[in-house]
Amino acid sequence: MSLTLELRSVSKRFGALEALHAVSMEVAKGAAFGLLGPNGAGKTTLIRLVTGILGPDSGQILLHGQPASGQQSSGIGYMPEERGLYKKMGVQEQLLYLARLKGMKSAEAKLRIKRWLAKLELSDWAGKRIEDLSKGMQQKVQFIATVLHDPGLIILDEPFSGLDPISSNLLSTEIEELRRQGTTVIFSTHRMEQVQELCSDILLLNRGRVVLTGQVANIRDAHKKHLVEVRYRGDTGSLTHPGFEVLEQQSELLLIRLRAPFAGNDLLGLLISRPMEVLSYREILPSLNDIFIQLITENAGHE
C-alpha cells in the first residue's frame, strides 16, 4: 500500500500555544480520509503544514514518500473552508490565473477549464464575474480551482457547506470519480454523517492531539455498545435471560443489549424458537457523532 501522505510525530507551536503535539498520520493513495475535530483543534494548522504554508517545529511530513519541501504544493489542491476568489475577476480568467500559478501551461489550462466548466454546468458563466454568480456556483468554481491542475492529493475544508442538495450531489459524484482515478482526498469537517458516508479512514484531533485514528468501520465496531434492534410479529414470551437485557419492548420492536459471550446468533436462535416471526435484525453501531462527542467530553474531563 503506497502512502500519499505521512506525518511522523509532527509538532507546531505558536508562542505559548501548542497547536499540534506529536501528530502522526498515514493517508493511503486513493483513500478518502476524514480529518475531524472541534474548532481550534488544530485542523487548519495541520492542513497548512501539509500544504507547505507553515513549517513544522519538529517531526517529518512525507508527500508521496518524499520529505515535503513546500515546492511540491503543485501536487496538492486545497479548498479552504472560507472560500476565496477575486470577486471582480471573470470565472475563466480567474481559473486560468490560479492554474498558471500552479505551474500549468496556458493552453493546457484553458482546455481543462473548458472541460470542467462543462462538467459542472457552468459553461454559460465562463465570462461572468465571480460576484455575479450565486454562492453555490462560486463554490463549484472554487472546486474547479482546487482540482484543475490534477493534484494527487486534494484537501477539502467543509466542501459541502452552503451547497444545495443537487450541487452537493454533483460535487460528491465528482469527488468519487476523482478518487476512482487514484486521487487521494482529505475531508476536513464537523459533519459526522458525511464522514461516515464518504470516508474510509479518520483522524480525530482535539487540542492539538490525536484522540482517535483508524478505519471508520473498525472504530465504530470498537465503540459498539452491543445493541441490537429486532422487528417482529407474534408473541415473544418471557425474555428474561442472563445473556441479554431488554432495554425496550414495543408492539413490534425490541431493543436489546447483549452480554458477552452471548452473541447475535445465540439471540436469533432463541427468538426463532418462540411463536413469533423475526422481520429484521440490526446491530446498532454508535454513529461517529456519538463517539466524537463522547471522546471530546471525556477528553475535556481529564483536563
Binding site: G52, S74, Y78, E82, L85, Y97, L98, R100, L101
Partner: protein
Amino acid sequence: MNKVWLIIQREYITRVRKRSFLVLTLLTPLGMATIILLPLLLFNLDMETQRILVKDDSGYFGHLKDTTGIYFGFENASLSRDSLESIYEDLGYTAFLYIPKVKPGDPTGLELMAPRQVSMATKYYVESALESSIERINLERLGLDKQELRVRPDIELETGITGKGRMRRAGSAFAATVVGYFMGFAIYVVLLIYGTMVMRGVMEEKNSRIVEVIITSVKPFQLMLGKILGIGAVGLTQFSVWMVLGALVQGLLGLVFAEELQQFRMISQQDGLETGREMERLAKAYSSFGDLPVLRLFAVFSFYFLGGYLLYSALFAAVGSLTNDDGGDGQLYVFPVTLPIILSIILMIFVIQHPNSRLAFWASIIPLSSPIVMPARMPFIGVLNWEVALSMGLLVLGFIASTALAARVYRTGILLYGKKIQPGEVWRWLWHR
C-alpha cells in the same frame, strides 16, 4: 520569478482595465484645468457693471479713469448732494460717490453708496482711481513729472550660482521654489494614493480568503512583491498619462486663450509703467525655469518616486495584512505609516524656505522623509553632489529593509483571522524567526 511575473500582470491588468481607472486618469488633468480655468471663464462670461455717479464738491476731480465694468459719470453737478443721492438710480446709475470739500493732502470723508453692498474689488478700484487722480494733482501742484521722478523705483535682483569650483550660471530662486514644491508634492500624492492601493489590495485578498489558495502556490513574499510591483506599474502608467495630458492641456490653453492673454497684456500696458514691469518680471520668471537642469532633475525625481513608493508600499502591505474583516483594527496601524509621510510634507515646506539648514540636510538624508524632501530641495542644491548620492544610497537600503520587515509581518498577518492583532505580537514577528 515566473510566478511573480504572473502576479504583476494580474495586479496591473485588473486595475488598468477598470472603468474607474480610465475615468480617473483622463479626468484628473481635465479637472485640474477646469479648476484653474473656471474663474477665468466666468469672469469673461458675466461681470457686473457699476455705473457710478460722482458728486465732487472739492472740484479737484474733473475726471476719473474708467475700467472694464466700472464707469464714472459727473452729470448734473449743479444739483445738491442730497438730491443726487435720491435720484442717481433714476438717472441710470448703480452707485453714488460723494467727494466733500477736501484738500488734496487730506482726502477724508469720501463716501460710496449703493442700493446693494458693493464688492471689495469695486471699492479698491474706486479708491485707486481717486488716489491716482490726487497723485497727479499733487505732482502738478509741485511742478513735477511722474515719469521722470521715480522716487521709489523697483529693484529686481538677478540670482545665480558661483563659488569655488563652480561654473558661474544664472539660477532663479522662484523657479527652484516652484519646481521644488511641485516635485515634493507629487511624490507625497504618489505615496498616499498608491500606498493605499497596495494596502487595500492586501486587505481584499485577506478578507476574501483567496490568499489561502494562492499561498499554496507561491510564497507570501512573492505575492507581496508581485502586488507592489504591479501597482507600481499602474502608478507609472497613470503618472505618465498625466504628464502627457498636462503638457497637452497647457499647450491647448495657450492656443485657445492666446487672444485673451494678448488683450490682458495690452490693458496692463495702458495701465502704466507699474503693471508693464510686472508683466516683464513674470515673463522672465517663466523663462528662468530653463536655467534648471530639467532632465537631470526629472531622472532623480523618478528615482525618488520609485524608491519612496517601494519603501512605503511594503509598509502599507504589512498594515493591510493586519486588518480584519471589519477593517477597524487596521486603522491602528495605518497611522504610524501615514504619519512620516505627512511629517515629510510639513518638513518640505520648511526646507524650501531654508534649503541649506541642518534640518533640511537630515530630512533629505533619512529614507523615511527623503523621498519627499530631497526632490523639493534639489533645485536649490543641485543634482550632482555627495548629499544626493548619500540620500539615494540610503533610500535603497531603506526600501530593502522595509520590504524585509514588512514581509515578516505580512506572511503571518495574512493568515490570522478573527482576532485582534496586538502591537506586541507584531513586534515579536518582526524580530523572531
